[in-house]
Every structure is written in C-alpha cells, then in structure tokens.
C-alpha cells in the first residue's frame, strides 16, 4: 500500500503550519521528514495517520492494505506512550484485544514481536523498570504486533541518549532488512535521516513546504558510521537547512 499526500495544507487558527505538500510514500521504503524546529513535521505525521484533519487537501491510501494488517497506519511516539500500569506483554495485548484476537493467538503474536525486538526476557516487566531504549523497543514491538502497512514514527529516538540511539538504529535496520516495512520517519537528527531514509524530505520553516527530496541509493544494511557518501549527504542536508534552522531558533513563540 502506498500513501499519497495531495496538496495538503494545514493551519491552526491564524497560523499557517503546512502549505501545499505533495508527496508519495512508496511501499517498502522509509521516508524521512526533516526540517527546522516548528516546521510542522510532527503535524504532518499526525495528518498522515488521521489523528488530525488537514485544512485543505487529501491524504490517500493507494491500494489495499495487506489483509492481515490490523491497524494499517500505526504510530511509534517520541515519548513511547506505554501504559505504566501494564506490563510489557499487557501493553502489547492492549492493542490486540480490540481487534478480537484472543487466547493462544495473542500469545503467538506477543512472543513473535518480543523475539524480534530482543525483549523476550522482559515480558513481565513494568515500564518503570525499563530504560528509555527498552521502552521504545516495547513501543516498536507493540506497533509490529498490529502488522502495520505503514509505520509512522514521530522522532522515535529523540528521547534517548546517543549510544542507545545508535543501538536502536541498528535494530531498526535489522528489522527492515529481515522484513522491509513502509515508514514515515520524522526526525530533527540528520545522521538518523541519512542512516535510515531511502529518501529524505526536507521541509522549510513555517509554513512548512517541501524544499527538496534527497534520495539515498545506498542499501540500508551497507550504511556504516563514517561512510563518506553519507557524510556528504548529511553535510548537504545541513547546508540546505542551516539558515532556516538559525532563523527558526530566533523566532518568538506564539504560545
């Protein structure tokens, strides 16, 4: 299933947040969205997943989502959004209960997604016992449990320290290499974008519109830290954004 954004604009009262976004998210690819702070990238992600309605324009699903997909558009949040009163497995079963999945089938799915994210030993743990990286792994396995057609990732690694971030990036690349998934990945971190993105959408500052789409043809599994080509792409992206990031930093907030 592909996603297509057709001339999407969005405003909150008087503030224009996004302007005429046209974008195709092809199946099996990771599309990264980067931009200076406050450019509306997280808003764009909420629009894509139907958590907010765009003021103008349409968001289209092209093609049927796979039949086994319980929740085609599934988010992974920056703050993990785990229920603190449920254990790791409880957090995963939460999203299955409403889809009428019961009994041994739930067991199979939970065991499978925990194995894929190396969490099998933490099945009974409560979120408060887990480190930030582990919490995000739980959130990722919860997302995998509903077999999403598109994973909408909202700065999933931004709340983590840089070492954990490296580890989780490797995990994500492994996951994708074993079984390619479609993803929209919002981040402000350029090195994440060049490591994980098949294409990188650069948004301008508010009102956000697409400045450029940068493709990175290097296969994900071959991207290593310190790769010259990636370094150059990252440098190029930074030059694109630098002035706007500086300007965005100077802006007074409306709130």
């Amino acid at each position: 299933m592909d996603l297509q954004l057709d001339n999407v604009s969005h405003r909150y009262d008087d503030v224009e947040v996004l302007r005429s976004i046209n974008l195709v998210i092809p199946a099996g690819k990771i599309v990264c969205i980067i931009g200076p702070s406050g450019c509306g990238k997280s808003t764009l992600l909420r629009l894509i997943g139907g958590l907010e309605l765009p003021t103008e324009g349409r968001i289209l699903q092209i093609g049927e989502p796979p039949a086994e997909s319980l929740n085609p558009l599934t988010y992974v949040f920056q703050d993990f959004a785990l229920l603190p009163w449920r254990s790791v497995e409880g957090n995963i079963s939460l999203v299955l209960e409403d889809h009428g999945i019961r009994g041994s089938h739930v067991e199979t799915i939970i065991s499978d997604v925990l194995a894929r994210t190396n969490l099998t030993d933490f099945r009974k743990a409560l979120p408060k016992q887990l480190s930030g990286g582990m919490k995000q792994r739980v959130a990722i396995s919860r997302a995998l449990a509903v077999k999403p057609a598109v994973m909408l990732m909202d700065e999933p690694l931004s709340a983590l320290d840089s070492q954990t971030r490296e580890l989780l990036m490797d995990d994500l690349i492994d996951l994708w290499t074993r079984e390619p998934f479609t993803s929209v990945y919002v981040t402000h971190n350029l090195s994440e974008a060049v490591r994980l993105g098949h294409s990188i959408v650069v948004l301008s500052r508010r009102p956000g519109c697409i400045r450029e789409i940068v493709d990175i043809p290097v296969p994900l599994a071959e991207r290593k830290i310190g790769d010259i080509e990636l370094e150059q792409k990252q440098k190029y992206l930074w030059e694109l954004m630098r002035d706007e990031a500086a300007a965005a930093d100077q802006e007074l907030l409306d709130a």
Partner: protein, 269 residues
C-alpha cells in the same frame, strides 16, 4: 619561591547536600503520640491540669474498657459503621461516576461543574432538617447526609484526575483504533486512579465528620449519639472515648487507602 616548597594544605571537601529529602520514620509518630499522652497523664496527676480541663488519659482508658465489657461499644459502633459504609459507598460511587462523566463529556462538564461548585461549600449539616423531611427520621436521612457530603469532594477529585490523565496515552489509544469504551476503561480509568484515591482520603474523613453530625440528631445508638450524650452530661471521660474512637476510625480508613495505593498503584514511578 618559599611558598611552593610548603606542602599544600589538605582539607576534605565538606558535605553540604543533606536534607530536603523526607524519609519515612515509622515509629516517630507513635512515640510523639505516647509522649503527649504521658505528659497529659502526669500533668493531671500532679494537678497542673485540672479534671475540668482535661480528663486523665488513664480514666479515659478505663471508661473505654468498661464500654467494651458492658458490650455497649459494639452497640454504638456497629450502627455507626453501617451508616458510614452505606452513606460513603453511595456518595463515593455516585461521585466517581459523575466525576468521570464530567471529565469525559463537554456538555456534562458545562452543565454540572457550576452546580457542584455551588453545593460544595454548603455545610451539609445545615441541610439535615431538610433530609429529615425528605427521607424521614430513620436511617435513610443519615445515609443521605453522609452520601451527599462525600459526593461533592469525590466529584471534584475525580474530574480533576480524569483531566490529568496523560493525553499522549489517549492519543496512542486512538492511533491503534481502540474503541471509545476501551480507551475509557483501559486508559482513562486506570490513569485517574491515583487522583481518585487521594480524593477518597478527603471524602472519607468528611464522611466521618458527617456521621457524627447525623447521629447527634435523632439516633439512639451510634458514636455520635454517645458523644452527644456524654457532652450534655459533661462526662469528659466518655466524650474523649467517643472522640478517640472516631480518630482511630479515621486512621484505619486512611491506612486502608494507603494499602490500596501501594498495592493497586505499584506501577507509579
């Protein structure tokens, strides 16, 4: 230079990071209590404190033992406990239900919050005659008074607790297409439990206050009736026995809630 040849002065860096971290010291509360009672006892025996000011704690204790031995204790305590249980249960459960509704529905909020704000400050005791007319002089009017008194603080605590549920968790529920009912029962209600329980702490204390008020008017048996009778006879020993029973009741209820908090809310960081 001569300075550089002198050995450098060595001094340990002074620790200055202590305090400002409350710890639970278990027995201190009990010790303070015992010391206070002992001081009153000594003062009363030595004559610093006259019998008209405060009764001797030992006399109060003997009166309590007597009350126990004659079997009157349970005759007074059981009706009180049942009134408290029925009234507080009705008030708290209605309060939680209405509070959750206010937390969930904008129209209910707009309609009921002003009413709750209007009835919250009314001293419920003042309405006792009204309840007697509505529900009769028997048990029902006492239940109604206690229920009404527990209802308002529970409503306020509950809708505050619902408001404080982490919005990002609700957003998460929606993003996984959970049904409205699932979001309410699996996210909103468990998320508001801490606030509801701490509200119940206040509500139950109010329920005890109102229990006595209700029993002072037209009850043959009950801790309130016992206190009223002792007061009108100026029998300070019995008055203090009654007051002590209420205090103990309050402490027990509060520790029951603490027990629930530690058991049910062990997920809190």
């Amino acid at each position: 230079m001569p300075d550089s040849e002198k050995p450098d002065l060595q001094m340990q860096v002074a620790f200055r990071g202590g305090g400002f971290a409350p710890q639970s010291k278990r027995w201190i509360g009990l010790i303070v209590f015992v010391v206070l009672i002992a001081l009153i006892e000594i003062g009363a025996r030595l004559g610093f404190i006259s019998n008209l000011t405060l009764p001797r704690p030992s006399d109060v204790f003997y009166t309590f033992v007597e009350l126990w031995n004659t079997g009157l204790l349970w005759k007074h305590l059981l009706p009180s406990l049942s009134r408290l249980a029925v009234g507080a249960t009705i008030g708290a459960s209605l309060g939680i239900a209405v509070g959750v509704m206010i937390g969930l529905f904008s129209y209910v909020r707009a309609g009921l919050v002003p009413i709750v704000a209007a009835i919250f400050p009314i001293p419920k005791i003042a309405l006792l005659p009204l309840f007697v007319i509505w529900f009769g002089i028997e048990e029902q009017s006492k239940y109604a008074l206690i229920a009404f008194g527990t209802f308002t603080p529970t409503v306020v605590a509950t809708y505050g607790a619902v408001d404080n549920v982490d919005r990002s968790l609700i957003r998460m529920g929606q993003s996984f297409s959970l049904s409205w009912f699932s979001i309410v029962t699996k996210i909103v209600l468990p998320g508001s439990m801490p606030g509801i329980l701490s509200g119940l702490r206040v509500s139950l204390a109010i329920a005890i206050i109102l229990l006595v008020a209700a029993e002072m008017l037209g009850a043959e048996y009950g801790v309130g009736a016992y206190i009223l009778e002792a007061g009108s006879l100026y029998d300070l020993e019995r008055l203090f026995v009654g007051v002590a029973i209420l205090s103990i009741l309050g402490v027990i209820l509060s520790s029951v809630i603490t027990f629930f908090e530690t058991r049910v809310l062990d997920w809190r960081v």
